[in-house]
Amino acid sequence: MTAQRPDQTRQRHGVMVRAWHWLNAVALAVMLMSGLAIFNAHPRLYWGQTGTWGDPAWLQIGSSGDKGLLLVGERMFDTSGWLGLWTDSEGRTQQWATPGWATLPARYDLALARNWHLLFAWVMVLAWLVYVLHGWWRGHFRGDLGVRSDQLRPRALWLALRAHFGLTALRALATGEYNSLQRLSYLAVIFGLIPLMILTGLSMSPGVNAALPWLPELFGGRQSARSLHFLTMTGLLLFVVLHLVMVLLAGPFRLTRSMITGGVQGDG
């Protein structure tokens, strides 16, 4: 039994959750932006073991004349100004796939982008390991994030989803324990998207391929793993955007403060 604090309150976020949250916020931003910079070296995605210039790609970004183009399968989208053809901060037209404001570094430098990416890959992997082991040990996943089977019934999930629609309900939601949808999405990120990101990333390493030849095959070959790395990134990005929208709607200052100080259970 741990000693209760004199005021009998419990922190909403443990110190490990807070540390991991902010470390991850930085690491994810660096990984995403340096990843896009690496993608610019070959902005084409394939399925299977191989794929190079001239091979059919299921996604590619390029330009034609004064148009930036995104091709997904047979469909073509005009993405001028955003992808394939854009104007940099000095007003010059650039034809790299993703724009400078979204990449790290902003100008094309594959080696530096890889240095950022592979440095923060270690940060992410080690931080994730520490967080998961700690969470298991302290019952964080069973307690704060555990989902009971009755919460998974369609009606229960519908009620949980409805709680995200009204502002008042959303604000109320952000004070107590996580509801089932929050728990499910956090669990999906922690035990789904992040491990998938790590494993598809490692599948692209020729050294790891020699050590664990089955790993890229798990995803259908090296280029499939690269495609899934990209799609999983999109999933993570979607989570971050939804997460930020929810926080902005439910009370950004209060919630940010409690993710820094720990907050008080029942008060965000």
Partner: protein, 252 residues
């Protein structure tokens, strides 16, 4: 306890984002960042070596897996006068030089190399840019050539001096003895059953299958055994390593 998001907050957020971006470039030029990158590289190198030090092989594929397209990157047609002369004479007078910290410096013609025991392997080539292609390579295991030359005790690295220039500078690469004596590390002179084409590094290119493409030096003219890399080129062990700070160990 609701608080509206006012314009000032939004502006501060935007400015924060911009400063963060500018800040990243500043961080990347500090020595602390270099140290951190060095640490991450060492972590990658040592953990990968722990996993594959026992001579673990890169996956080999079947003839049916060979790619129809194999993009040629970097130099594809060196304009060095001596090299051009070798191309014109079908590399008949070309010789591979093996020297440095060896007991018996060697000069090997293409015919001599072809008479040595050969290894044929179908492997996937992974470019640092992100693409992959599968091809069949035939050549002499590098370890065999090194054994013929006889390494002096302080030889630690194998440097490959190439015939091609990029931006005026000669291409070179280097690997250590673990990769040098790995059974799949070969000096390839045939690709997909044909003599190596000029675009792919004729007459001889390195295959070091557990690393990325830029380590697979093309147009190899001379193999030099050295104790350290600091006196070669810019001191970082390779053309791209010197110029752009690419990883010397390209297992990832």
């Amino acid at each position: 306890m609701a608080e509206p998001i006012d314009r000032r907050t939004a502006l501060a957020g935007l400015m924060g984002g911009g400063m963060l971006l500018a800040g990243c470039d500043r961080i990347a030029s500090t020595s602390a960042f270099d140290h951190a990158v060095g640490g991450a590289r060492a972590l990658t190198f040592h953990s990968q070596r722990a996993l594959i030090a026992d001579g673990r092989l890169a996956r080999e594929f079947t003839p049916a897996d060979i790619s129809t397209r194999f993009h040629a990157n970097g130099s594809t047609d060196p304009d060095d006068a001596i090299y051009r002369a070798h191309v014109d004479s079908g590399f008949r007078h070309w010789q591979l030089v093996v020297d440095g910290l060896v007991h018996r410096p060697l000069r090997l013609s293409l015919a001599q190399l072809a008479r040595l025991p050969q290894r044929t392997q179908i492997t996937r080539h992974d470019c640092v840019e992100g693409w992959s292609a599968i091809a069949q390579w035939q050549g002499v295991p590098l370890g065999l050539v090194l054994a013929h030359a006889g390494l002096m005790p302080d030889a630690r690295y194998i440097v490959f001096h190439c015939a091609d220039r990029l931006g005026g500078d000669v291409y070179y690469e280097s690997i250590d003895l673990v990769d040098g004596f790995h059974p799949q590390t070969i000096l390839a002179h045939r690709m997909n059953g044909q003599p190596l084409a000029v675009a792919h590094g004729a007459p001889l290119r390195l295959r070091v299958e557990r690393q990325l493409g830029y380590k697979h030096a093309k147009y190899v003219m001379r193999i030099e055994l050295v104790a350290g890399l600091d006196r070669i080129g810019g001191g970082r062990g390779g053309y791209w390593e010197d110029r752009r700070n690419y990883d010397w160990y390209a297992g990832i």
